[in-house]
Amino acid sequence: MRRHPLLRAYLAGIAIPTVVLLVVMTGYTIIRYVFNVPVPIERVIVFPMAAVPNAWGLWNVLYVAFLEKRHFSLGLFGGVLPLLLAPGGLVVTRLLNFTVPREVFHYAPFALPIGLILYYLVWKYFVGFLNAELEIA
């Protein structure tokens, strides 16, 4: 299985967020429509649903194409991704005139390091496992 390593890298990259987002979006939908939380999440849902898995896939492609041979840490490389995704999400909310709840900014100093740690661990162990299984790293 030596053919199309970048395609396999892309598929390995999108696997985790696709599964996680399914769970998270189910939770969001229940919160929004069962508990009638007045936050119109559906207006910005396109960003996590479409952009995040693709960003993970392309991030893994970049890693396999340029950094894997230099033995750069996959965990550290993946841990940087929230620093791009979080501002990207904020830009989308601004473009769609979506009012971000004030609590999100209030807790951001705590959420950011936790996000970085989670991304580091998930990339190191889960994406790394998939890369190894698909024989690309």
């Binding site: 939770g27 999400g89 709840p101 999100v104 936790i114 989670l118 661990l121 190191k124 162990y125």
Partner: protein, 73 residues
């Protein structure tokens, strides 16, 4: 397909496929398999446990961070 045709097909197949020279591998593959399985065992270094514990504790003491985290997904 009758008996004679079956024999004919069998003979043709034997002619088309060369006999396998060695049925046994040249070396014992079992130790290599065990070594490969050992390599696959995930070893988590202590600093990753510290990071995980830190993130869990921070989430526990500041539960308001959970919606913010989900929002940033």
């Amino acid at each position: 397909m009758n008996e004679r045709e079956m024999d004919e097909v069998q003979k043709l197949l034997k002619q088309a496929l060369p006999p396998v020279g060695e049925s046994e591998p040249r070396r014992d593959l079992w130790p290599a398999l065990l070594r490969r399985m050992d390599e696959r065992t995930v070893r988590v270094p202590w600093w990753d446990w510290v990071l995980l514990a830190g993130a869990a504790l921070l989430t526990l003491f500041v539960p308001g961070v959970i919606p913010a985290l989900l929002y940033h997904l």
